[in-house]
Symmetry: D2
Subunit: 284 residues, 4 copies
Amino acid sequence: MERRFRLVLSCPDRVGIVSMVSNFISSHGGSIADANQHSDPTSGYFFMRVEIKAETLPFSLDALREAFAPIANSFAMEWEIQDSNRPKRVVLMASRESHCLADLLYRYHSDELFCEIPCVISNHDKLRSMVEWHGIPYFHVPVDPQNKQAHFDQVEQLILQHDADLVVLARYMQILPAGMCEHFPHRIINIHHSFLPSFAGARPYHQAHERGVKLIGATCHYVTEDLDAGPIIDQDVTRISHRDHPEEMVRLGRDVEKQVLARGLRWHLEDRVLVHGNKTIVFA
Amino acid sequence: MERRFRLVLSCPDRVGIVSMVSNFISSHGGSIADANQHSDPTSGYFFMRVEIKAETLPFSLDALREAFAPIANSFAMEWEIQDSNRPKRVVLMASRESHCLADLLYRYHSDELFCEIPCVISNHDKLRSMVEWHGIPYFHVPVDPQNKQAHFDQVEQLILQHDADLVVLARYMQILPAGMCEHFPHRIINIHHSFLPSFAGARPYHQAHERGVKLIGATCHYVTEDLDAGPIIDQDVTRISHRDHPEEMVRLGRDVEKQVLARGLRWHLEDRVLVHGNKTIVFA
Amino acid sequence: MERRFRLVLSCPDRVGIVSMVSNFISSHGGSIADANQHSDPTSGYFFMRVEIKAETLPFSLDALREAFAPIANSFAMEWEIQDSNRPKRVVLMASRESHCLADLLYRYHSDELFCEIPCVISNHDKLRSMVEWHGIPYFHVPVDPQNKQAHFDQVEQLILQHDADLVVLARYMQILPAGMCEHFPHRIINIHHSFLPSFAGARPYHQAHERGVKLIGATCHYVTEDLDAGPIIDQDVTRISHRDHPEEMVRLGRDVEKQVLARGLRWHLEDRVLVHGNKTIVFA
Amino acid sequence: MERRFRLVLSCPDRVGIVSMVSNFISSHGGSIADANQHSDPTSGYFFMRVEIKAETLPFSLDALREAFAPIANSFAMEWEIQDSNRPKRVVLMASRESHCLADLLYRYHSDELFCEIPCVISNHDKLRSMVEWHGIPYFHVPVDPQNKQAHFDQVEQLILQHDADLVVLARYMQILPAGMCEHFPHRIINIHHSFLPSFAGARPYHQAHERGVKLIGATCHYVTEDLDAGPIIDQDVTRISHRDHPEEMVRLGRDVEKQVLARGLRWHLEDRVLVHGNKTIVFA
């Protein structure tokens, strides 16, 4: 994969942003491989993502950041520049259900997801063999229902030790404490097995069956303090019928969950997801 | 279209129902053109729909009903037999938005929906010309916000006068009073412009925009006393992005609404929808 | 709708295009409302579409074109600038099937499609009343199977007389002569009732039934000399089953045809479709 | 899973088939858990699938077959009765691409697909470790381009030795010789990475890119002598855009291939697919 610098920014909208950014790039001979922008008339904000062919710029990543900072400051941008050659470090968390974990491991193994997976953490020991076959360390951190905090302390420790850029809850069935959500803002991705905001919380397929819906879905979102209410990255649905009891819904839903989570994770890894308030801009 | 008798039934499940029904049909020389059945292990109920080629039976519709009644009674069936050649009488109701109404009128006009439309009722006079071009009477029944009941009394009167088998709320934006819902059980179909149970009530596209969902939808359901909570007949969704403000969501949603309503209505007209509790069995 | 100038361009890719274009705009105080770009590594071409808020520029449309021309020339661009306030003139053509025509007329009538429809041309007289209800002139130009050229001469005459920017074949079932295709390059849009390249030519639903496919589709494309082989603008599909005989496939397919044609037309009207060779870039 | 006998039959349509079959079942106290039927007016054929709760019948599988045979003969049925508790034996074949194989192995491993996999055969040694982790023997049978028949002889030998009910070509990139196709009629399932009949043969994603289609797809079908022309079991598509070069199409297509193959295989394993001529009836 050709190396690229990915500039992602948001700022209050005004005349001249694109011009200033593209001038900066072209004045240094930079070749733009891909670019997306979005003006939101409601919030008055402007969002942009530019991929620059790294070899066409006379900068290291750090030098590029330094050179761009004055422009960023003059427009009051929130911004970052990422190197497409540097894989993000992603800690996966799971419980007993293996479908999302197995799917992500396969995509990682087959080079479809560009990242490093320093470890998998689970509150059960069930999926160890599958994980270790991929050459990835597996940490079993049990949950004591009387003292869940001990579990989360240990989990947070592991995340920090492994220097994670991102945590993915691949059907990890515990509710994270508020503190942990705050420590990793927009750095924890969850897959919820319903089309949110319908059927938040426990046993969404049973809720869906109870209500008699004709489609079931899955939602990939950033985790915030509010359960299943964080910024949505992607969603999808699949059709069911009166024949499908909760067990079949669980089976059919798995394929949607896997795809939605893999897609959302991929977009995050490629720096395509910008968060603004409780919404996302996805430059897919 | 070849004339058919449609037998639709539900009853507690037990051995021998299909055998008894199919024996009854074949013993009179009846040829089955289509048949569907469903056993619900949760409720212990059995559901069936059979289309019999009318010409192969030596019965009129009434005689067929009479002949079948003893079997129905012995299995404690809820049942009906419909004649595919008899169009149902469907009263359409609308407000100012024309897309669902225009779509249904077109499908009716082009013989895609087999029914009669004795009249259209609206609380505005805006769509009169479109309706009358189709040769259908248009009744403008204004709503006095101080006395809505007068409006509903007049509407109910019109429905009864026109001998309606079914009422379709094609984006009719008033909430029906409980009494009216009870008078026409499973005989009023509504299209709600969200993927229920998300975003029930007013301005669902604005609610969806607020939440930042990535798909919007529509739901066709029978009207009950509980707002937007009746048995769901069909649902569908379409993808949106961060670019789509509520106005674009309204536009994109229209196509979903039209299709979901038309499909749900068609299934009802063909006696394919069975209601059990708050759910539907759709033999599509 | 806020007035916008839409700049659409393509040229050989090289460093500095975005910078030059955005500088030009911002140096005149122009505010960019929307922008898309695409670099195709295979062809080495660059494609761009920019919407500028017209009120922020000190130019009339003509003056803007004049001011931009030197930049365009220096990059060897194919380009155009359109005024979002100027509706394109679209001549619709149909035969006996009304679904696509009725759908486009409704969208036009309800201001969903921003265009003018100076007339409808058909080789049958069947749809006159529907068209005239919309206040649009209807020209019945019969086809003599022994002398089709006379028909096409008359059609071409009408198109020119009505100063059409675009011709839409809304299930017009005649094959256009090569000469006519050449006269209106990328200015004739057709809807074909299959998922091209499968089932080109006559009776695609019957071909699909014969082959036993599980999805049927529709394709909206620009018309070229080669039958059903022009640049594809949009496609979509719907699921069918073994129950669906060609008649049901025709019915189910209609909804796909309508949507795909309306979407493709809308994109064309909004100057979102760029043609390169036999492919399209759609900045949707 | 509750044990069931699955009766699947087809025969020329006439009055009394359902009655005779259901009488047979109910007269022995059999409880029908699921039933589907289809009359094809074009061919004049009738198709039926019935699931009977095994415990409600006083028969072993063999005794049931014997008891039913006279009825089957009197209607000239093609028929079979399968025991839901007996897993089919499925030999998987692959080349170098692992996505379909890994997906099927995962579904097998997680009990989503009820079958036995006695072995995997490949013309490369690349996927051995993945297969053996699942406890499944792996046979590497290289292909000599000068003498392909030796390869196929060995493959056929392995299939017979392992007593396969079914062979699944999970992106096995060799064209089977006609003789082998004939030896296993409707017992070899292939996944082709296009929406057939478009883009049969080699490099379908490149063909699709060349044509500029807006959706790509996959097709699961029974293998016959005619390349990519056998009876279609299932198909699906996914949307692409001008941004997607063949490499991205390959990536996006993988998810469709996996799902279509898994769904088609599942239906086959559950005896839901009936072949008639070059088409399938799928009682899904």
